[in-house]
Structure formats: C-alpha cells, structure tokens
C-alpha cells in the first residue's frame, strides 16, 4: 500500500489495546470476528460508522498496553487504511508494521486534523494532506529497513524474500 485516503475518526490520548479489542474477545483470532468489536469499549458505534479506507487519528501513546496483535488486526480488518497519532506505544508500532497496517507518527497532524475531515496520506513521502482544511503536514519517512518491510507486505514476506 502506497497511499491512503479516507474520513477521519478522532480519538484522544493513551488509547489502549484493551479498548481497541477487549480481552473478552481474544479467544478468537479471526480478523473478521475481531473487527466486529474494534474500539467497542471506547466508542460502541465505531464499527457501524467506519467505512473501508477510513483513517484513525489519535493523540499520544496510541496502542499502549498489551502485546496483542489482535489490536492492529482488528483495526485493519475493520477497514481502516491508516492510523495517524502523535506517538505510538512501541509494541503496537512494531505489530502494525509487521502485519502491514500503515501507521504514521506526526504530532502536528494529530493535533490539527478534526473528526470527519477527509485526509490523504502519501506513505512514500510522508506527506499528510487534510483535504477538508487544505493543511499539509510532513511526517518522517520510514527508515530504509522499515520501508523494505512495508514494501514486502510485512515481516513474514520480507523474511521469505531474503531466503
């Protein structure tokens, strides 16, 4: 995936993995099943509102808490094309990259983009455009190693391609 365009769903600070996908649903690891409960404990209507391609924008420390890969899997399976936040919790960051959910850390964008805005993200350049307000934000491009990982489609295809 090289770009994302969609409507923004806005969240606050410290969105933890327990609200992204509550543990009571962890007995399943099926993406479709997990997607049904994505964000349920913080916004029970999220899954009804979200459309394929939509973008989540949040403030600091998005994805803090457990190492459950079920969290980025649930977000990806719910149709979300990209998560933008001021900062990400490190295990969530790692997991998202590993499973091929593009995520972009950009404090300026996270602070200025509003609920319902239409946003375009170019992953190659790191440029984020809020098409509703016309504002643009420059995020840091991925280091080469991570870019290779993303280009390969995640960690496993990347390892396979090396062998």
């Amino acid at each position: 995936m090289r770009e994302a365009r969609g409507t923004v769903h806005k969240f606050g600070d410290n969105i933890d993995t327990d609200v992204i996908i509550p543990a009571r649903y962890l007995a399943s690891s099926e993406p479709e099943e997990l997607a049904k409960h994505c964000m349920e404990d913080i916004d029970k209507d999220f899954i009804k509102k979200v459309k394929p391609g939509d973008i989540i924008v949040a403030n600091k420390n998005f994805g803090c808490g457990s190492s459950r890969e079920h969290a980025p899997i649930a977000i990806k399976a719910a149709g979300v094309s990209c998560v933008i936040a001021e900062t990400f919790a490190r295990i969530f960051y790692r997991n998202a990259i590993d499973i091929g959910l593009p995520i972009v850390a950009c404090p300026e964008a996270a602070q200025n983009i509003k609920e319902g805005d239409q946003v375009f993200v170019d992953f190659e350049t790191g440029l984020i455009t809020d098409e509703t307000t016309g504002l643009t934000f420059q995020s840091q491009a991925f280091p080469p190693f991570m870019q290779q990982l993303i280009d390969a489609g995640g960690l496993i295809p990347y390892i396979n391609s090396k062998n």
Binding site: N14, D18, R24, A27, D41, E69
Partner: protein, 421 residues
C-alpha cells in the same frame, strides 16, 4: 561513547563490538515465548514461511496461562493448537496444566532466563526478566513466529533513562509502590521506546521479587525493557533455580554511558501507593486519598503473585477476617509458589480470613474469568493495568496496589494503609 547495560547486551546479541541508540540491528535470540492467546496467532503465521519447523526446540517456551484451565470452548481450542504444535515440534519447554504458572513468574523460576540473554515474548510483560539482567521485551505474534522460525529479531537500539536508587524501603512498602511511584512521576509514556535502567546503592536492598515487580511494569511507562544490574542476589537466585550463568554475559553499563534522563529515588521515602482508574500513572499515596469503599480484592498476576507477595498479604490477613461484602481472590502465580505457600501455612491463613485461593492463571487480571467485575464495582488489585473495562464492565473501577495494601483494604472494606495495620 559508552554503552548502557541494554546496549551492551544487544551489541553482543547482534555480534557487534558496539551499538548506538537509534541503530537498527538484528540479534540472535536466546528464548522466544508465547502463551495461549498469542501463540495460536503465531502458529498460524508459521505456515506462511518457506522454511519448515522451529530454529531450536530448546529455546522456545510455550505457556498456556491466560484462560487456563480452559474457560470455554474457544480457549480449549487455542490450548489444543499450542499443545499440538509443541508436540509436533518437540518443544522442550511446553508447560501443561499441573506444571504451569503465569509465564513471567514461571520462566525465571524454571531457570530459563540468564543474565545477558536476549529474549522476546509475545506478551507485553516479557520485560519482567530484566530483573535478572537479561534484555527481554514484548512483541506481537508475527515477531514471535519469525523468532521461532529464524531465531532472530530486529530491534531499534533504545536510549535509556537511569533510575538511581538509594536507601531502603520501609516495612510494608514494596517494589509495587516503587514502580507505581515511578509511573506516577514519568507517566504512561514517560519511557516510550526507551530502556529503564536501575542502578545505585539502593538496588542491593531490593529483594528479587521486588525487582521482578519493578521490571514487570516497565511497559506501563511505555518502556522497551526495565533492567537491573547483576549482583549477589541475582546469582543466588539463578543458582537456586538451576539457571546457567555465563560470566561473559554479565554486563554493567559504562561509566560514560549516555542517558536521556537520570532520576534519583530515595527508597526510604516511598509510601504505599495506589494507581487510580483508569491509568497506571494516576498514582497517589495513601495519605492523600478520600475514602473509597471496595467490592473485590485480587492478589496475584505476573506482577504480584510471587511468594514474597503472598507472605506480605498473609502477614496482614493472619488472624483477621475480610470485611463483609468484600470478595478476596488470591492467585499464586505458579504451582511451585502455591505449594510453598501451602507449606508455609499461608493458604490456611487466606482461607480462614475468608478469601478464596485459585489455581495459577491470569484469570481476572485481563478480565478473562475468575473474578470479573459487574457495572460500577470497585476492585483493589495487585495486577498491572487499570484501563477501562480491563477486568469487566466498562463502568467498573480498578485500583492498582501492592499485596500489603490489597490485604489491608480487604480487611477494611475500603482502600487502607498497610503501615497502619
């Protein structure tokens, strides 16, 4: 420029003479861990590799502990998946019900963690093993799968915060109070992407169980790992539990190691501390809280289900009875701890005080089973997360505390100061 303890371990693991913060490296793994929630996802991912099998059947640990003994059919299927995978790949360190315990108490106890090891676990509290001078960190299931297949993982070499400890803890104050105090000071993202390195004269006075508790909650400050220097207590612990110690893997930070921050902590000043809902950073000392009545107390988890924790709780519950209307659930973290508690008479103390004692399991810690909270209920818990809905209904409240504070609160029926008992 000098290296921190974590950087030295990572350099060794990557076969490099030195590393610097920010560098991306690939390191050899000494142990790869998974549980009944994360391993099934990893096992499914394993099928996608071109290569077959695991890199080393002795360097993988599989511990079904979250929903075990299986709480429902889906959990049973997950356990079956892990069990069959372990059998197929002849995994040495698979722990069935009867030998198992909560992973982060079980692995050190089983002698599987040595100083200087590089360990990944598909569980965020894998950082616990830093107490033994190992580099260990939580990852997701895909990283676990790649680790099992290749024996390697990629890491970004972290910057570090140095916590310089001095003095000694007061009676009935423990490692939990220290780490809640620290998270209260720096916040839940205070150590984001960084290692938390503990140092100073105060380390020597901390028991191993205190150190495990402190390292365990590094993740609650956003940390990549939380690591202690190796001293006589570490070596005595390793000897007692049959772990191999390789002298060349015992590292101390260089004198000129670079830290982004140095934080001084006088352990003698730490007071019993409770983290209020719904974040571990909402830490307050017991001197500054209003009256808070409670419905339930949980004493257990990878944070505080070890023998010292049970002893401290029993010391307060002995000869007393829990308050009317309060449910107290005690969960020894492993079978061995359970047995030891039995032999020391602690189980009797708990039962006579009106508590229940469960088989080792994560259970209520993550809202799995064995003590789920109803709407509006309040729980004092020795676990590590008090997020919205973590233990049950989204309107329930979790107050994180030490075993001593939890026991004192159980008797009082409200959050209470253990030093006043």
């Amino acid at each position: 420029m000098g290296m921190t303890m974590t950087q030295k371990i990572l350099a060794k693991g990557a076969g490099l003479a030195s590393v610097t913060a920010g560098q991306l490296i690939e390191a050899d793994l000494d142990l790869v861990l998974g549980n009944d929630i994360t391993a099934p996802v990893a096992i499914k991912e394993m099928d996608k590799f071109k290569t077959e099998g695991v890199f080393d059947k002795d360097k993988i640990a599989l511990v079904p502990d979250h929903f075990v003994p299986a709480k429902d059919i889906k959990s049973a299927e997950n356990c079956k998946c892990v069990r069959e995978f372990a059998k197929r790949n002849k995994i040495t360190n698979y722990f069935e019900v009867g030998q198992m315990g909560i992973e982060h108490a079980l692995l050190p106890e089983s002698g599987l963690v040595s100083p200087g090891d590089v360990i990944i676990g598909a569980d965020s509290h894998t950082c616990t093993y830093g107490a033994l001078g190992a580099f260990s960190t939580g990852v997701g299931s895909t990283d676990m799968a790649a680790g099992m297949a290749t024996g390697k993982a990629w890491f970004r070499v972290p910057e570090a915060i140095c916590f310089r400890l001095r003095g000694e803890l007061q009676p009935r104050v423990s490692g939990k109070d220290v780490i809640l105090h620290i998270i209260g000071e720096i916040g839940v993202d205070g150590a984001l992407y960084q290692s938390m390195e503990f140092a100073g004269s105060g380390v020597a006075a901390l028991s191993m169980d205190d150190r495990f508790t402190i390292s365990n909650m590094a993740i609650e400050a956003g940390g990549k790992n939380g690591i202690f220097p190796v001293d006589e207590k570490t070596l005595a612990y390793e000897k007692e539990h049959g772990a191999e110690v390789d002298e060349s893997k015992i590292f101390a930070p260089d004198d000129d190691a670079e830290y982004v921050r140095v934080i001084d902590i006088d352990l003698s000043k730490i007071r019993p501390t409770v983290a209020f809902p719904h974040l571990p950073e909402n830490a307050r000392t017991l001197d500054e809280i209003p009256e808070i009545t409670i419905d339930q107390v949980v004493i257990g988890s990878c944070t505080n289900g070890r023998i010292q924790d049970l002893r401290q709780a029993a010391d307060i519950l002995k000869g007393r009875h829990v308050a009317e209307g309060v449910r107290v659930i005690v969960i020894p973290a492993t079978n061995k701890i359970y047995l030891q508690a039995m032999e020391e008479g602690l189980i009797r103390i708990f039962l006579e005080a009106g508590a229940v004692v469960s088989t080792p399991t994560c259970g209520p810690c993550l809202g799995g089973y064995m003590g789920i909270l109803a709407a509006g209920e309040r729980c004092v818990s020795t676990t590590n997360r008090n997020f919205v809905g973590r233990m049950g209904d989204t309107t329930s409240e979790i107050y994180l505390a030490s075993p001593a504070t939890a026991a004192a609160s159980a008797i009082a029926g409200k959050i209470a100061d253990p030093t006043a008992c």
